[in-house]
Symmetry: C2
Subunit: 565 residues, 2 copies
């Protein structure tokens, strides 16, 4: 495995050996290491000194169920801190087949033209891409697949990334060629836009699977992991209902973000639940599908295809976070309306969480009525057109609040909260507050813990454990749901790493990787100027009582400040 | 002297004795002390925990030339750090006559209505002010003077403050009743707007001059100060040409901000110079005046009245910073065009530096052509109307750059630079970078120092001395130009303080006050989460060469980090 270092100004590729300190890392952990090693922490996120890095996780390359994720990272233009955002799709697998452990994209071009970066066993080449400029990803991806072959992996940006909007992500095509696997969070699409790359094409046809040191041991561990995954009761729930299974659970707990986080209970929750969606899709048929895999080999298949009344696909997938942020958070109780918003936000290459939160803030400013999906679609068109209002919203919830004069912004470190109300799921509130990434449930969700989520006691420890695990999984390239299997058979992680790499690691490796990753991320943020003052939920959440439990966020600050000590 | 503590939620006044640690402070130093003592540094700037504080300087109350300034402070919504912004006019004098050393405005009202706060020897009362809501300050001030008497002092906000725009300041009426003495910087008008106060009326008719411990000694020191001031050659320059005398000097040094800080030399400098303006105003006559005092007793009279072709006043005053930021920085070489922009920005109650910088960034984004004053006026109308674009611009240069996708933003800690190019006047660059206030020439201008401004060596020490002096003057309530007198007779500061208060101070008192003030301000910022990473000029200024000298900002970061050690 190598580092492929691309300079977009000179359009050159340099292949380098992996330094020893990078070897035992992958995905999120490797990104953090490279950022600390190479990127000036105070650099302008959209300037020439920032680097955009793609790093497959440690376990990527073998179609282990749910373990082929790609991590993308840079200094974030949204948070101004460390950023990793991972996704499924083909990108991780094919980079690995080319032997690329880290793709490091550097500098900025002098001109204004758009470019494609094409990677294959022959190396890298740049091709002019002005013909694709301004295109939504749903238009661009099929054209690119036609031009470069249906088997290639593609990471591309939409108009949002081209406009360098802080809510822009990077879309990765899934195993079926659909560009909806987004490295959504933190504005990485804007970083890619600043480097004038519309798309990265990865053709691994002349590549090969990465070597395995001890194949029998690897297969044995894989089998144990697969079995544990298949037997976990939660997996069947995700297969049937997708992540939308979370709607009823969250609403039942009073933790469903509703009308810009002003309530934890949404009267329309039933109609945007996973159970309702499943029945709807089964009835609609056609292209609709209640279950779908985003990566080859995934046995969970939590994705879906949301079809309209005629069974024609509106969007794939429709997931809980989007339902929470673009549904209940906007007072919208129609899955069709949410699906259409989801298609727009995907096509623009924007983060549905950040945009949903920004729209909620905009609603508080009077720019849309709660529940008005049509108006929300019009606001998406403002983003597409790059109007001042569209650019405000596309800059994320915090900027939207600042510009429109709304103080109630659900964000930490400049990044909007995902769909778990932190005044109720307080452990997740601790994660939102203290994660170096900004508010993000994938950094340490605690909702499944058997605790009183409303009680501030013990939440810091709960969050810490979850944050170590998640940073570990993100370093492995494992999906959050692969954790159901690994949690039941933790030794398989060790066994897989030993069999794959011959590494000398023990059963605590997941937490060790997580701890190392978080330490590196916190070091980067420290160098970038972050302090404990940034590890806070918005002040209004400590003051405004949230119905129905009428709670505030009350985990003591001093306890949070000691979370990683 | 007392603290008057106003709670805007309960509409109550509490009068308190001055704590011992506040006694030797006033103005900027006292604000910093109160912010550290009372305001949670991580609070939301527009939330209920922020406090808006008015504090006259230590020397205010005796019509000492140029020494009756009012300091206003709070946690800044623009920088998120400590903020003091001082102005001339009547406010400082009349608060002092009422015995108010600090007016501390707390909390937020529950309702949406606007209020006037009326202060007099009878105490404080609130009056509904919805009839004034939305009014520009030039419309509101005469109505308020008519209603409350022509002798009262008034501090009020314009539509910008009502909209809680981060570039909003607080206007104070001058000795002639004109509301153009703005505590401009850092968004204090937005803080006042968040407290739903349209105006503060200060009626000191039943008040009295503050006591003087040793009148003969005071008069003697005053006389020495006045003499030194009158004899300083620079004073005559300011009397004749106003602050606009700086245009030729700055342009000659190659330090005139031109077209969004892309050049230090403006081909139209002559036409926006103080010399040109003087001839123009003398020719125009009528209400035009080349010299004017903003405070009673000022002998410098650097202000002016800028009349049109018919001699009718367009705006008063027209000052260098506005000429730099709304003139050369926008490629505008017409004083009439600048004066009309200045009237608009004043009427809206916005900071002409921040707005000029934001318009420069907007021009880089293609929203106006360089030199197009008419288009700039249209953009002012967008601000007045509160359109999305207007709100972007009114949120300041940094937000404008973020939303519009422009990386070349001339700001530090979120606050736009005043009209001295820091790649040329490098000592002032150090001040911009390291001042706890964000970029601000009044925190330590070094342009008059007899040094090679382009040489990075020695600039840190130069800036430190200037920052101590300016923080000292701001604590005294002395105008930056009073410094010409005090610098020639430094013992008069000690003598005035000893005679006025009986304080036990020595001739080093100015720097001592400055040092104490800066330490408090840095402490507040530290608690708010600021680090050395915030003490930096924008990265692009270290990389992009500025014509005509083709220099970058190259003062070593490590040296800057040690500036206050």
């Amino acid at each position: 495995m190598q580092t492929w270092r691309i300079n977009v100004r000179n359009q050159t590729l340099t292949r380098e050996a992996i330094p020893p300190s990078w070897e035992h890392l992958g995905g999120r952990g490797l990104l953090a290491r490279i950022l600390v090693d190479e990127t000036p922490a105070t650099c302008e996120p959209l300037g020439p000194k920032n680097k955009l890095i793609f790093a497959p996780g440690l376990l990527v390359g073998h179609r282990l169920s749910s373990c082929d994720r790609i991590s993308v990272g840079a200094k974030s233009p949204l948070t101004n801190g460390v950023k990793e955002s991972n996704a499924g799709g083909r990108t991780g697998l094919q980079l690995t087949y080319l032997g690329i452990k880290a793709l490091v994209i550097e500098d900025k071009p002098a001109g204004d033209g758009w470019w494609l970066l094409h990677l294959s066993a022959d190396g890298a080449r740049f091709e002019p891409a002005d013909e694709f400029a301004g295109m939504g990803v749903y238009e661009a991806a099929p054209l690119l697949l036609e031009k470069y072959g249906s088997k290639v992996a593609i990471s591309l940006i939409g108009p949002g990334g081209e406009m360098e909007l802080s809510a822009a992500g990077i879309q990765n095509i899934d195993k079926d060629g659909v560009p909806s696997r987004i490295s959504a969070r933190g504005g990485l699409g804007a970083v890619m836009g600043s480097k004038k790359l519309k798309a990265i094409i990865i053709d691994s046809s002349a590549g090969e699977k990465p070597p395995i040191v001890d194949m029998p041991a690897f297969r044995k561990a894989q089998k144990a992991f697969n079995k544990a995954l298949a037997e976990h009761p939660q997996i069947a729930v995700y297969t049937d209902f997708g992540t939308a299974a979370m709607t009823k659970m969250c609403n039942g707990l009073g933790a469903m973000p509703t009308r810009n986080f002003s309530s934890g209970e949404f009267e329309g929750a039933e109609k945007i639940s996973g159970e309702y969606m499943r029945q709807l899709l089964l009835k609609r048929g056609g292209e609709s599908s209640t279950t779908h895999a985003c990566m080859a080999g995934c046995t969970i298949r939590c994705s879906n295809v949301f079809g309209d009344d005629d069974g024609k696909s509106i969007v794939s997938p429709l997931e809980y976070e989007t339902i929470g942020l673009m549904g209940s958070n906007l007072g919208i109780d129609s899955l069709d309306a949410i699906a259409r918003l989801n298609w727009q936000v995907n096509d623009l290459g924007l983060d549905s969480i950040e945009i949903g939160a920004a729209l909620g803030v905009a609603a508080d400013a009077g720019l849309l009525e709660w529940g008005d999906g049509q108006r929300a679609l019009e606001l998406m068109e403002e983003m597409r057109a790059g109007t001042p209002l569209g650019r405000i919203l596309g800059s994320g919830a915090l900027t939207t609040g600042k510009v429109l004069g709304v103080e109630r912004v659900p964000a930490v470190k400049g990044q909007a909260m995902s769909a778990y109300e932190p005044r109720v799921i307080k452990g997740t509130g601790v994660t939102f507050a203290t994660s170096p990434q900004g508010a993000d449930h994938t950094c340490g969700l605690t909702i499944r813990a058997k605790v009183d989520h409303l009680n501030p006691e013990g939440q810091v420890a709960l969050s810490r454990t979850a944050q170590f695990s998640m940073a570990g999984y993100d370093t492995l390239g494992a999906c959050i749901f692969a954790g159901f299997g690994f949690a039941a058979t933790p030794e398989t992680i060790r066994d897989l790493l030993v069999a794959r790499y011959g590494l000398d690691v023990d059963a605590g490796i997941l937490a060790q990787l997580g701890k190392e990753t978080l330490e590196l991320e916190r070091e980067f943020n420290r160098l970038a100027g972050f302090t404990a003052a940034d590890d806070r939920l918005p002040e209004w959440m400590t003051r405004e009582q949230l119905p129905p439990h009428n709670t505030v966020f009350d985990v003591p600050e001093a306890e949070m400040d000691a979370i990683f000590d």
